[in-house]
């Protein structure tokens, strides 16, 4: 007899944890739309944001100011990343250049954070909700911190779908993604669109840093990398460039992880995410909701 309560608990937790992955996957999507670039520094971005907020809070700024300052700083870092490691390299025939360069920026932020704030984990205070705040759903207590992430992820998905489908902005992004030179001819400022997409992606990292750090309670300089890799898996599983995919991919991953952990072995939990990654790439690289890339001659 299956312990229904236990399974439900696992599934709910999986959805919650998965919503964290989705939030990161959303960040990958924005830049993927405009340049087909995935920012390998996204995880460290997230860590850096949390660290910045901590720093501003410790100086004595109120939350709102700390968040605004952090968002501002990370946008600038996003622009720098775009200028330095994406723009000059994105046109080369292989993607090795920007992968390595963005990864380099990520590692640099990690090293910088270690230098400034030390290697020890720093405590991150609760934001909006405490980790003890929860609501009971079907007899299972759902953490409000996680629900906040879930809600944000859902909100971002809706906004993105709307923006991409209904607004001139979405059309501009699509045009730039299709052919930046052609888009320029059509009067779209390709370069600005790309830059703005990197700013938006960095801001999403900022939001993620703000919402995820309180859940863990601690941030250390290597905090971002781990979780970024899981965000990648979520994005690939859902299909790169699909908002719906990011949300559902993240949750699917979370639920599978928790079910494997709960019913098979928690030590297999970590491996299973990567097994899924390799499997989905080998069988269906476009993911659950992605669009198959067409080879251009």
């Amino acid at each position: 007899m299956i312990d229904f309560q236990f399974m439900l608990e696992l599934i709910f937790m999986g959805i919650c944890v998965g919503s964290v992955y989705s939030l990161i996957a959303h960040g990958f999507n924005i830049t993927f739309w405009t340049t087909k670039v995935v920012n390998f520094a996204h995880g460290p971005f997230l860590m850096f944001c949390s660290m910045l907020i901590l720093m501003f809070l410790s100086i004595g700024f109120p939350w709102i100011v700390a968040i605004l300052l952090e968002m501002f700083s990370i946008s600038i870092i996003g622009v720098i990343l775009e200028r330095v490691s994406v723009r000059p390299l994105v046109k080369s025939p292989t993607s090795m250049g920007w992968i390595v360069a963005t990864l380099g920026v990520g590692l640099f932020l990690q090293a910088l954070a270690t230098k400034i704030w030390g290697a020890q984990a720093l405590a991150f205070p609760a934001f909006i909700f405490e980790s003890t705040d929860y609501v009971p759903i079907l007899g299972i207590s759902m953490s409000l911190q996680y629900l906040l992430v879930l809600g944000t992820g859902l909100g971002i998905m809706l906004i993105m779908e709307l923006v991409m489908k209904k607004t001139i902005w979405g059309k501009a992004m699509k045009a730039v993604s299709f052919d930046p030179d052609l888009a320029s001819v059509m009067g779209i400022k390709s370069k600005s669109v790309v830059t703005i997409s990197f700013i938006l992606s960095a801001l999403l990292a900022g939001v993620a840093g703000l919402l995820i750090a309180p859940i863990y309670g601690n941030v250390a300089p290597d905090f971002g990398m781990n979780i970024m890799v899981l965000g990648f898996v979520a994005a690939v599983l859902g299909g790169m460039g699909s908002s719906k995919g990011a949300l559902i991919g993240g949750m699917t991953l979370g639920v599978i992880e928790k079910l494997v952990g709960g019913y098979i072995s928690t030590s297999a939990e970590h491996g299973v995410a990567f097994a899924i990654l390799i499997l989905i790439l080998a069988i269906k690289p476009e993911g659950l909701f992605g669009i198959k890339a067409v080879q251009k001659v």
Binding site: V38, F40, V84, S85, P88, L89, S92, P93, T94, S95, M96, G97, I99, V100, A101, L103, G104, V105, G106, L107, F108, Q110, A111, L112, T114, K115, M225, V229, F232, V233, V236, S267, A268, H270, G271, F274, A275, L277, I278, L279, L281, A282, P285, Q295, V297
Partner: protein, 606 residues
């Protein structure tokens, strides 16, 4: 090439350098011997990723996994079965090659950052397995008690080995690996790696199967990393799962990139940098990660070819030098005959159609790009293909060469059904094509690019190529002779050692056409070869195509230059909006009012 470099690479300086390396440890302290051993291991790692990422262009963010597998394989065999290190190194290499082959099965299907993700995942999975499979790997506790020279527990043929002997072992392995690698990258297989790196499509058009090339790259690269791992395990005497994490993979990547991908000297320098600098300059430690990460950021921008690029070191990708030195038995024939007798006579024999395209349809989504096109072409015939932009000319060429699958209809070549076959298989049947924009490998010289054309004619085995077997050298020489001949024919001799990417546009075109001819095509598809050519170059191209025709090779020629086309072709096919509106002789076309109205009248170029 400047004097200094010539001296540096002179055989005598090379040999004295190697002798120096052999006697050096006798004067070193133990810690420096150990450092040099690590340099050797790092060279192997850097060469391993160089082969995979530098030559064949397949990025790997999980290379430490191969390193780990090699280390654990060798270590467990030594501990549990008491095997000698010489055997465990070989087993580690072979087993790793097998793992590399297995990984290549999913990995060859993806590219770009999807591949980066996959290799990243592979790295994590192997690390998890190492951690959890504690009965074999020692799990998180690691594996200690590995026979090691530095503890005096390692034996070479019954003699207790010391650090100096272990150093010599590593040195010999590195030198042998380097020699084999050099032979390999200078062979047709090595060249095919770079071709796949530049453009899989263009590689396929010459009969190179990107899948097989990648598979080979993974297999070889993994096996080199396996050797490195085996040497590492015995050097350290203890291995733990933490030594093979993502940072290790990134370290391996940095060695390759910093040293210079695509050269053989570069990775040696990159490995030296990562081995010696942090150790000798301890104060750097504090900023080590920052420096490494900044190097990653700027390397592709400022030193795209790494240290090797700064030193202007380039690894030649053909064995011309080697051959001139050793084999002088076969003199260069300069009788102007490109194709060997047997083939050309075979080509001239028959006049029945060699290519049959039957009622072919191509739809893109809901859009019909080509509707019911039928062609038949005989040997020695040139078919001109004209029509306005978007009329389906290139689509037709892409269908014949297998770049796009056919929606409906059949294509037969030489009596065989080649409909929807892979491009490289079609190319191996002898259908060779060029592209609208030249698809040469810009980082290869003209000579090497032309050699790439002869790829499908090579028959030497992998072993023969890497061991420089006599018959493989002779084969390479034969191809080089043909290349020399065609370079003379196209006035390219002066540019033989120039990088193709540095040539003016028109010349790049000529190189591509010449490359296609060298592939000994049985059908040549030229997609706008004259675009962007000067008057003189046009003339040369004209000569070249006539030469091909004289060899009995049928040609399909797409071009907008009316005079150029009409002067060459036997028959002409006019397309409009995917349909054939005229098919027949040039004279007939000029009178055909459909054509005049649809095409000539509107868009007459000449």
């Amino acid at each position: 090439m400047n004097m200094f470099k010539e001296r540096l690479f002179h055989p005598i300086s090379k040999i004295s350098f190697i002798i120096l390396l052999f006697i050096a440890p006798l004067f070193f302290s133990d810690s420096n011997i150990q450092l040099f051993i690590f340099w050797g291991i790092n060279i192997l790692l850097a060469q391993s990723i160089n082969l995979l990422s530098g030559f064949s262009g397949q990025i790997s963010l999980g290379h430490a996994a191969f390193y780990a597998i090699g280390a654990y394989t060798s270590a467990t065999l030594m501990i549990h079965f008491g095997l000698s290190i010489f055997i465990t190194i070989v087993i580690a290499a072979i087993f790793n090659a097998f793992v590399g082959f297995l990984l290549s099965i999913p990995a060859r299907r993806v590219k770009e950052f999807y591949l980066a993700m996959m290799t990243l995942g592979f790295g994590f999975i192997i690390q998890e397995i190492v951690k959890e499979w504690s009965s074999v790997t020692g799990g998180v506790m690691g594996l200690s008690g590995i026979p090691s020279a530095k503890l005096g527990t390692l034996n070479f043929f019954g003699i207790q080995a010391n650090m100096v002997m272990y150093y010599w072992l590593v040195l010999v392995i590195v030198i042998v690996t380097m020699w084999l690698l050099k032979n390999f990258v200078q062979s047709y297989m090595g060249r095919s790696f770079l071709a796949v790196h530049r453009s899989e499509l263009s590689a396929e058009s010459l009969g190179i199967s990107p899948g097989s090339a990648k598979q080979l790259a993974y297999t070889l690269s993994a096996s080199i990393a396996g050797i490195a791992g085996a040497l590492y395990a015995s050097q350290m005497a203890y291995i733990g799962s933490n030594s093979f994490d993502m940072m290790q993979s990134i370290g391996i990547l940095i060695m390759g990139i910093l040293g210079g991908f695509g050269t053989l000297i570069g990775p040696i320098l990159g490995a030296a940098f990562l081995t010696f600098v942090p150790n000798k300059l301890q104060f750097i430690q504090d900023f080590q990660l920052m420096i490494y990460s900044l190097l990653l950021v700027i390397s592709f921008l400022f030193i795209p070819n790494g240290f090797a690029g700064l030193l202007k070191i380039r690894t030649s990708l053909e064995k011309g030098n080697r051959i001139n030195k050793s084999i002088k038995a076969i003199p260069l024939k300069n009788d102007g005959k490109l194709l060997n007798e047997k083939q050309s006579s075979f080509l001239k024999k028959s006049f029945s159609p060699i290519l049959n395209v039957k009622e072919v349809v191509k739809d893109f989504g809901g859009l019909r790009a080509l509707n019911d096109v039928t062609i038949s072409l005989s040997k020695g015939q040139i078919l001109g293909l004209i029509g306005p932009n978007g009329s389906g000319k290139s689509t037709l060429v892409n269908l014949i060469s297998g770049v796009y699958p056919v929606s409906k209809g059949e294509i037969h070549f030489n009596g065989k059904d080649i409909t929807n076959m892979a491009t490289h298989s079609i190319a191996r049947y002898g259908i060779i094509r060029t592209f609208q924009d030249p698809h040469n490998v810009p980082t290869m010289t003209v000579k090497e690019n032309l050699l790439l054309g002869t790829h499908r004619l090579f028959k030497s085995s992998l072993l023969a190529c890497t061991l420089n077997a006599n018959h493989s050298l002779r084969e390479e020489e034969q191809m080089l002779t043909r290349v020399t001949e065609i370079m003379e024919l196209c006035d390219l001799t002066d540019y033989a050692d120039e990088l193709a990417g540095n040539l003016p546009y028109g010349m790049q075109r000529m190189v591509e056409v010449a490359r296609a001819i060298l592939a000994e095509p049985q059908l040549l598809l030229l997609d706008e070869p004259a675009a962007g050519l000067s008057e003189g170059e046009l003339e040369e191209l004209n000569r070249l195509i006539r030469y091909v025709k004289n060899q009995g090779i049928p040609v399909i020629l797409i071009d907008h230059h009316m005079d150029f086309v009409t002067g060459l072709v036997d028959e002409i096919l006019v397309l409009e909006s995917g349909g054939v509106i005229y098919s027949g002789s040039v004279e007939g076309m000029q009178k055909d009012h459909h054509v005049i109205r649809a095409y000539l009248g509107v868009e007459h170029h000449a």
